[in-house]
């Protein structure tokens, strides 16, 4: 049975994020200090392509290192701002250690998103980190109010991805 993380990973491998970043390497259960991320994907903002797109990419696009981290908090109680803050701190550590330009952080939960969490995420505006929180049961999703955060909805299409999950896949 495929989990939501499996589905996100499968779509990323197929190049779903290519308009923003060319994610080329995917780790599962990636451990940083005491925190484990179910999915860690890394890549560059310059994609490869063929002929014209490659020429365009090499002449126009910057080649920043970026990454995506996804944590599945399903079955671990309600999501709190403290949990999100802890995850964000770890991602900032990864950003500074690996010299990343920015990173996506996606947190999945099966609990209803509380107004506190929604407000915290919508007010989050640090440039380097885009946060997306999604409820895998109700498909409710909220994104941080910065460019990287908004791209989780517009380019990655997280809500559509979760909407495409069958009940069995969402486990």
């Amino acid at each position: 049975m495929k989990s939501a993380v499996d589905v996100i990973e499968r779509e990323l491998i197929r190049g779903r994020a290519r308009w923003v970043a060319d994610l080329t390497e995917f780790f599962r259960d990636y451990k940083v200090m005491d925190t484990t991320f179910n999915l860690y994907a890394r890549g560059k903002t310059r994609n490869k392509g063929l002929f014209l797109s490659r020429f365009f990419a090499s002449t126009v696009l910057p080649n920043y290192a970026v990454s995506l981290l996804c944590a599945d908090e399903s079955g671990r109680g309600a999501l709190t701002t403290e949990k999100i803050r802890q995850r964000a701190d770890v991602v900032f550590r990864i950003i500074s250690e690996e010299n990343l330009r920015w990173a996506w952080l996606i947190i999945l939960t099966d609990f209803r998103l509380t107004p506190t969490v929604v407000s915290f995420i919508e007010r989050y505006d640090r440039r380097e980190l885009g946060i997306g929180i999604a409820n895998v049961s109700s498909r409710q999703a909220v994104f941080s109010n910065n460019q990287v955060g908004r791209s989780i909805r517009s380019r990655l299409g997280l809500e559509k991805l979760l909407g495409g999950l069958t009940h069995g896949e969402a486990n």
Binding site: E9, R10, I13, R14, G15, E25, F26, F27, R28, K48
Partner: protein, 124 residues
């Protein structure tokens, strides 16, 4: 050249297709066909008839799916985090990258736990 007549021309054409197919197939299996042979202890990658990569699972700690420049997902085995790695060209053998990666992760974790048990036994 003797292929002017209708029957001979038809015969040559009908033979050249299967002959070309067989020769192509022979050359492919001889030079390009990729095969990954593995068990719980080790793996070996063959290209054509030649072994390209081989190794023991217990030498590796981390596994990832790495997409190459053409969008083909292969498996990358790391000896240490961000250290040396070996690539298994799983996109050439037609397996699901996620399913095979999960299988390799299981093998790696069991190989690691058995080596830890051996160390504990030696220490005892």
């Amino acid at each position: 050249l003797g292929i002017q007549t209708g029957f001979t021309r038809l015969l040559v054409l009908s033979l050249s297709f299967p002959l070309g197919f067989l020769i192509g197939r022979f050359v492919y299996f001889r030079r390009s066909h990729v095969e990954i042979v593995y068990d719980d202890l080790s793996f070996q990658v063959f290209k054509g008839h030649k072994p390209k990569v081989s190794g023991s699972w217990k030498s590796f700690r981390l596994v990832s799916i790495a997409v190459d420049g053409y969008g083909r997902p292969d498996l990358r085995l790391y000896k240490s985090v961000d250290g040396d790695f070996v690539e298994l060209p799983i996109s050439r053998v037609g397996v699901s990258p996620q399913a095979f990666r999960d299988q390799v992760r299981k093998i790696l974790s069991s190989a690691r736990s058995s080596s830890i048990n051996l160390q504990v036994a030696e220490a005892a």
